[in-house]
Amino acid sequence: MSEPDKGKKDLWDILNALGPAIIAAVVAVLGITYNSQQASIAKSSEMRQVYTNIMAQRETSDNSIRASMFQMLLNAMFAKGLGTQNRNAITEVKQRIMFLDLLSRNFDTIDIKPLFEELDQDLIKKLSGPSLSAQQRGDFFDMLSELRKIGRNLSIKQLNALASLPGSEVSRCVILKNAAGDLQVMQDESASSGSDTSLLVEIKPQDISNGRVEIALEYNKRKASDSSFKAPSFLISFYDLPYIDNSVLDKDMRVGVVLSKYVETGDLSRFRNRIDRKLLQDYEDLKGDGISQYAELRIIKFPAKYIGNRDRPYLQDIIQTLLEEHKEGATVKPPAAN
């Protein structure tokens, strides 16, 4: 047996000799990596901060502009007495319509229905007034149509936005009134294949006149304690916005009704040259069938979570539900083994 070569070093000896150097190198690499990561995190945090600041500044300046604009528009409508001076002037009514258009385009979540309703009723009164020329009457009819178009466009925009969200459902309802005053209602079934039949909403028309439909919404409340609850009747006009004007269908669901079309065939004799040419024959056909008024409603059912916090009684209810769910989650025990 030969004696081991004392001069030859094995791997262990090499590692033993290089150990401190390797440890130093690993520490150095870890240090560099750590520093690099910290720098990256700090940069990312800084970028987020900058982005947040920019967005906050933008929001603040936007809110400031909107607040000034809102004040200016309301001042123009009320403080300067718009609507009280020279009420027959066409230009003044046009201005009021323009203000309302501006308001509705920029503040679609505030309830400006009373302003629209007031002008609508004012124009209806003007149309039936005795002291107007045919030209003036026609101009006021055009303005009433324009006002209703603004209201309808806004409500349909909100309807479409809600309808595109999961859990929402839209159905259509047509109400006809004949010359004798009899009402007929035809409600289409929902286009949604997954319609919730436990939340059926039925429209009960009471009357149609002057661009307003009086209805009662009847439905079964799924979770409410009072199963015989029935909603009171209310008036629907082109200015009912589903974001704002909606009813509690259930604890989790809301229902909104939008007037999407309204036709009075009597307008044919008074304003034939002012009615959209494309619709003249349709008016004639409806009139030929003995229909004096035609109204088309869209009924949207949507989850209550899409509604803002204006409904404080229900907000309290939501908080209570969340607390209960949290409590249940905390006390859940595994099922007992059989």
Partner: protein, 99 residues
């Protein structure tokens, strides 16, 4: 010659005018999985009389019946899917989901 041209212009105007006047029904047909389907759609009046020619939906499931009178109809899709509808003045959209 001038009179003939004038008459033709008036005739074309009246024809064009009448085309512009009528109501329209349109929409999209989807299957149970909300996928658009290519299928035949027929329009019948309340008495069951077919109105115009049946149409076939496009690959996007779109159908339309133009120049119709505003009144009650029954829309039939395929052989046994039916929906009653009142077509109002102007355009009326009715999306149909097959059951």
């Amino acid at each position: 010659m001038k009179k003939l041209l004038m008459a033709l212009v008036i005739l074309a105007g009246v024809t064009g005018y009448s085309v512009l006047q009528a109501a329209e029904l349109f929409g999209i047909v989807t299957d149970k999985n909300t996928k658009p389907v290519v299928i035949q759609v027929t329009l019948k009046d309340a008495k069951g009389v077919q109105v115009g020619e049946p149409v076939t939906t496009t690959k996007d499931g779109a159908y339309s019946f133009k120049d119709i009178k505003p009144m009650s109809y029954v829309v039939t899709v395929g052989s046994n899917n039916q929906w009653p509808i009142f077509v109002g003045p102007g355009s009326t959209r009715k999306d149909l989901a097959l059951k």
